[in-house]
């Protein structure tokens, strides 16, 4: 066939089927507080467990509101609120075993709380006192990661290490969970994490909180198909769960973590939820979304539905609800006091810990800077 010949005829195919309608997500508790069944997932909570979940939801929301208030009052530099995402965080956070490891973004305050960690821990970061300095291994909770998607590779590597240590294959196995947002799914790193975890069959759960927005950009800027479907093409299961349903999130995450710890490799969970507040306190969401959309999601509130459930099932009375609110309030006040008490760092410490083993250049700079600071002593500086 020489160049310039007429192209031979060819078949027009109709293989391009219409995309299937998005499958339903896993749901165990409706927005109205009805407990519904799912063929593959269930929970077997005691009454006390249900009340405990409610307490967690209320508490993390209350603490979050306190942090927002602190920011408004100039006590924090910025705050990334989890408002609306409490069920996604409490459900998944409570599904963790003590030996499991978490790699959060900058918004997983609720997961952190459920790990039993003092909620003050990340506030130094948002106050600007440090950069969120804690020992990931002590808390089984990595430091917050701000660069979108980077932590998914860290989580994958950590999970590869778990496998190397022989800590998979039984009920005591260790699982790893990597949190990220809908926007993050566009990053190369997240997709590489999918490749690696699949190839190395790493014991990891990818937990995507699809809160419908990456700052101002709606989901359609990142994908034209449901995000959980991404997983199959990398060779592992993906599943979508009602991210405002703490029971469903718990059940699905528990199952995925268990598969990971048993050696069955990764799972992608898409928790379908909504960011009720601003992206961070620096953001103004009225510029890019309409009130009616937010209202529609208000009806699906993750906390209200558990309260409705508790009420309907008569698992709790007003005294309980009041006590939970009051306990959360007290925690919030305590949190506030401790934030206000956080000391500013000594500027001389800014030269520390650049390297574990030090560096003569930093020693020299520390010394010069100390002398420089000293030269102002007694002056009005």
């Amino acid at each position: 066939m020489a160049k310039g010949d007429t192209a031979p005829a060819r078949t027009r195919t109709t293989r391009r089927a219409k995309p299937a309608p998005a499958p339903e997500f896993v749901q165990l508790l409706t927005p109205e507080g009805e407990r519904v069944d799912h063929p593959s997932y269930t929970v077997d909570f005691t009454d006390e467990d249900y009340r405990g979940l409610y307490r967690d939801l209320v508490t993390v929301r209350r603490l979050d509101a306190e942090a927002t208030a602190l920011q408004r009052q100039g006590e924090l530099g910025i705050w990334a609120s989890l408002l609306g995402q409490e069920a996604a965080q409490v459900g998944s956070g409570r599904a963790l075993q003590p030996q499991d490891m978490v790699f959060p973004t900058y918004r997983e305050h609720g997961v952190l709380y459920c790990r039993g960690i003092d909620p003050i821990m990340p506030l130094s970061l948002f106050r600007g006192v440090d950069q969120g300095a804690w020992d990931p291994n002590e808390f089984k909770f990595n430091m917050y990661t701000i660069v979108i998607g980077a932590q998914t590779l860290h989580a994958t590597g950590y999970a590869m290490g778990v496998a190397k240590d022989g800590k998979v294959g039984g009920p005591d196995g260790e699982a790893v969970v990597a949190y990220f947002g809908d926007g993050a799914t566009s990053q190369g790193d997240v997709n590489e994490a999918f490749v690696w975890s699949s190839v190395f069959n790493a014991p990891i759960v990818f937990f995507c909180q699809n809160n419908q927005y990456a700052i101002s950009e709606p989901l359609e800027r990142q994908t034209r198909v449901p995000l959980f479907q991404r997983a199959a093409g990398f060779g592992f299961p993906g599943i979508r769960v009602d991210g405002n349903d703490v029971l469903a999130v718990y059940a699905v995450t528990r199952d995925a973590l268990d598969n990971a710890r048993q050696g069955q490799g990764p799972t992608l969970i898409e928790a379908y939820t909504y960011r009720m507040g601003a992206h961070t306190t620096s953001d103004d969401p009225t510029r890019y979304r309409i009130a009616s959309e937010v209202e529609a999601w208000q009806a699906k509130d993750p906390v209200k539905r558990v309260r409705a459930f508790l009420e309907k099932q008569k698992l709790a009375d007003d005294a309980f609800f009041d006590e939970v609110d009051e306990a959360a309030r007290v925690q919030a006040v305590h949190l506030r006091e401790r934030v206000l008490d956080m000391p500013n760092p000594d500027p001389r410490t800014l030269f520390d810990h650049v390297y574990s083993e030090g560096s003569p250049l930093l020693d020299e700079e520390r010394e010069q800077f100390s002398a420089y600071l000293a030269s102002f002593e007694g002056s009005a500086h």
Partner: protein, 326 residues
């Protein structure tokens, strides 16, 4: 006639002019459309020029720059916004191996009229990755040009010059100066200075102070502070690559002393290059070695110590004292 604009608004108006002047100009990045960018530099542009020209992109910096390369091959002139300095690195491969090399690889047959806008530098009390000064990573890269504006009038003109350039330009915007106001000559039909030129922004006789971007104001403040005592000549580099050191050589030959000020760490930074070249060209004029007043050689620190990290008026004057103490 001039207008009083903030630096951020001057950029916004400059971008608008560029979009008007040439159909092929596109704006792309995260949140640049409906939101108008987290700093509102592209505010209103999508509304007026449409989603086809002002594009909210997926959250992927390598994708932003990589697709810009393809758009440039197709004949477009993409202006890419990187949301913050610390988020440019996922795009680093596309920038240094593709954007910077495409013209050389093609022996001039392919042009890369891409502008990469980066709000850079500290001083706004932000969390990690939001306050960095990555200019050395780009200025060291042959094939890229790097500029930084320090005032509204330059912002207005330099962004238009950058968009009009057929070479790829990393355009560094001093984010903490976005809200500073100044006179902008929006009536003029052409800029008064070539894009890649340094400028004496305050004449003086005793010591030369070179700065760029956010530190120009700091240097000027220092000059004002010691006015009467010591006469500092302040030069705004404006172009970090290629460097225009002619005015600096000329100045140093008069003053005999030079301080280079920047926020980035000193080690292999702009100050090192300026020092090396000024020393070579003005060897017999220097009364003291070129001194650098810069950020320390640490990662950018937590917000509550950033004021100590960043060069300020006192640190610049300390540098001046040291050069006179030589």
């Amino acid at each position: 006639m001039t207008e009083t604009l903030t630096l951020g608004k001057a950029l916004n108006v400059g971008l608008r002019r560029s979009l008007e002047a040439d159909d092929k100009v596109l704006i792309m990045g995260e949140d640049v459309g409906k939101l108008g960018g987290v700093f509102r530099i592209t505010d209103g542009l999508q509304k007026d020029f449409g989603e086809d020209r002002v594009i909210d992109t997926p959250l992927a910096e390598s994708g932003i720059i990589g697709t810009a390369v393809g758009l440039a091959i197709r004949g477009y002139r993409p202006v890419c916004e990187i949301q913050f300095d610390g988020f440019v690195y996922p795009a680093y491969d596309q920038i240094v191996s593709q954007v910077a090399k495409m013209t050389y690889r093609s022996r001039g047959k392919v042009k890369m009229p891409i502008v990469i806008r980066i709000p850079f530098g500290g001083g706004i009390g932000a969390v990690e990755h939001h306050s960095e000064s990555p200019e050395a990573y780009f200025a060291h890269t042959a094939g890229l040009k790097v500029v930084s504006c320090s005032n509204p009038n330059d912002a207005y003109w330099m962004i238009q010059q950058a968009v009009a350039s057929d070479d790829p330009i990393v355009f560094l915007e001093p984010k903490r100066r976005y809200w500073e106001k100044g006179e902008v000559d929006t009536d003029a039909t052409a800029p008064s200075f070539p894009l890649h030129s340094a400028r004496v922004v305050r004449p003086g006789t005793d010591c030369t102070v070179v700065a760029y971007g956010p530190m120009v104001r700091t240097a000027l403040d220092a000059a004002t502070a010691v006015d009467g005592e010591r006469s500092l000549e302040v030069i705004d580099l404006r172009s970090l690559s290629p460097l225009d050191l002619g005015p600096v050589y000329e100045s140093v030959r008069r003053t005999g002393r030079l301080i280079v000020v920047h926020e980035a760490p000193s080690n292999l930074g702009m100050g090192a290059e300026v020092a090396a070249r000024v020393t070579e060209h003005c060897f017999y004029s220097l009364e003291a070695p070129v001194l650098r007043v810069t950020g320390f050689n640490t990662p950018y620190p937590a917000a509550r110590v950033e004021e100590e990290y960043l060069p300020d008026l006192d640190r610049v004057l300390d540098g001046v004292d040291r050069t006179f103490g030589w």
